[in-house]
Symmetry: C2
Subunit: 350 residues, 2 copies
């Protein structure tokens, strides 16, 4: 199956899942609203990259139960919604994929219900528990999938591990900016935790485990996923400043407005002029940047070679990942699938 087709099928299974949830809780209007909110953020856009990797991995190691694997793959989208919902509260973001984020959508809902004050606070409270609900659904999908119990337990153990890692990455993301001295290795560790293991390595491993591989073997084979995942995060950082706003579905330069410690920031900080540093400092906390501010930020990252260094590192990591894939002892067709995935990521512009 082509990646595009996979994506369509995954979205179909998500639709079906939410239809069932809508039926399930007919009685409670507040629960119904939560289903609607989680559905909105889950169905609006997204590359579906985690379920795709999960499925490619599964079908590399199993020729049976492929449809069940695809149906199950959506647990990763529910986990993603859970984390995004909480993330958007943390980052105070009002838009994602050109649509209101969950808390922001709840704010509109509360206004409609006639709430006169504290709408933002209450909206964020509701979004915390809506995220928690999405998490319980993700576990539900995986627990109830039609695979052997011992495979599911091993898969669930990996899911637990994955969540602990991505959360460790989020702690780094929030707290690193408070540190006076930051090492490149700390930034790369955050990328490893919050993107590489979460978006690439674990979806691959869980797919392989449900296909019958031992957790040890699955981990061994998933090593190609780590450099690929870090490269993906670097691409993300670059797109966040240089892509078209329409394409990424949110305002440009969120990392700069939030004072995030990206690799771009790190490379620039090594040789930045005092007045450029001060300028970047002024951007933190702004709701939106003006065109000239974005232009100047781009200029700072270009002229300090931070952009070029980031692109180079990203390319090196992708090459590393390709080499690892070529050296894997798996069937030819499976290798082609994985290389197809790498190419898909190479070409991405969102």
């Amino acid at each position: 199956m082509e990646i595009k087709q996979l994506k369509e099928k995954i979205e179909l299974y998500l639709e079906i899942f939410f239809q069932e949830k809508e039926k399930e809780f007919r009685g409670s209007e507040f629960f119904k609203e939560a289903v609607k909110k989680i559905k909105e953020i889950t169905l609006t856009g997204g590359k579906r990259i985690r379920p795709i990797i999960f499925f490619l991995s599964f079908s590399t190691f199993s020729s049976k139960k492929k449809e069940e694997a695809l149906k199950t793959s959506i647990f990763l989208e529910l986990i993603h919604s859970y984390l995004l919902i909480h993330d958007d509260i943390i980052d105070n973001d009002t838009l994602r994929r050109n649509k209101p984020t969950t808390w922001y959508s709840y704010e509109q809902y509360l206004k409609k219900m006639g709430l006169k004050k504290n709408q933002e606070k209450m909206a964020k409270d509701l979004a915390i528990i809506a995220g928690d609900l999405a998490c319980s659904w993700a576990y539900q999908i995986l627990s109830q999938s039609k695979f052997a119990e011992e495979l599911k337990i091993k898969g669930l153990a990996k899911l637990n591990e994955m969540l602990a890692k991505v959360i460790e990455g989020q702690f780094l993301d929030i707290l690193l900016p408070l540190k006076k001295k930051i090492k490149k290795s700390q930034i790369l560790r955050a990328y490893l935790l919050k993107t590489a293991s979460y978006t690439f390595q674990y979806p691959f491993q869980i797919g392989a485990i449900l296909a019958g591989l031992s957790p040890q073997k699955a981990e061994e084979l998933s090593s190609f996923a780590l450099p690929l995942g870090i490269a993906f995060q670097i691409q993300d950082d670059i797109l966040g400043l240089w892509a078209k706003e329409k394409e990424i579905g949110k305002p440009l330069a969120t990392d700069l407005r939030e004072g995030k410690r990206t690799l771009l920031w790190y490379f620039a900080s090594q040789k930045i002029k005092e007045r450029d540093k001060n300028f970047l400092q002024t951007l933190i906390g702004k709701k939106r940047l003006r065109k000239e501010e974005i232009e100047r930020a781009r200029e700072i990252f270009s002229s300090s070679l931070a952009l070029a260094k980031s692109k180079k590192l990203s390319q090196q990591l992708i090459n590393q990942s390709e080499e690892k894939i070529f050296s894997l002892k798996i069937k030819k067709e499976a290798k082609e699938n994985l290389i197809g995935l790498v190419n898909f990521l190479k070409k991405r512009n969102v």
Copy 2:
């Protein structure tokens, strides 16, 4: 084993769990801090009622693997910490069991790290993900326990269900106050979801399932838990206004300050005078109530018979629960255990 002894052993297993977590993440200072925060809220006080019920249920239906069941029972305390951490953000509470809540403790941490502004916002962000981490640990404990895979999968399915229910209860808790007309049945439904099923019915069911009972049988036998759980919540509401502050470990009358729709509130609202209603309205949002305000609130709930009606209902529900326990077809010793639990709850003053 006596309930008091059970509690001590549960706390010992919690200590061991956190010792292992502390070792696990030696490398990352932020993760270590999160372990510390979750440990603080988990180890400080608490009645351990959920693991106790889980264990009583397990040992009613199984004479093997009792120690493993007790060791596993702590997953319910981690789930509870997860929900409490999020709850304290939502309710803006700074104290729980006489100690700082997680977000409040993070606020102190951030101040120590030198953060000059937005400490409260960032502290709450960190607490959101610390809560999420506790959730992944709860799932980890249950997934990795030494029971047969098919039993664990059934237990996990119940855990997912339980979380979806308690979250539905939280939605009701937050959103019911926005409704002009509230029915008694809606309040009781919230109690059913947020306390009876979460604190009593599901811990009992999961214990029975790990002991080998079918989910159907476990559900059937757990019906005594629902009236008991609602009674427990009513007791909680009463203690929240009439207990000694030292004993409950948090300021009195939080329900009133948060405008919660309790059964006490419902009974009073049926025959309340306009000026008393206005007085209660003025309490909402206050950080702390004065002694006279608490006295007057108590007077309102007493003279409107709301207190007496609540006590009566609570007593009726406890009787119902006892009758159900007596009619269960389980061994005599098991019945005595469950009745022991009821008596333990009858006598509680915190």
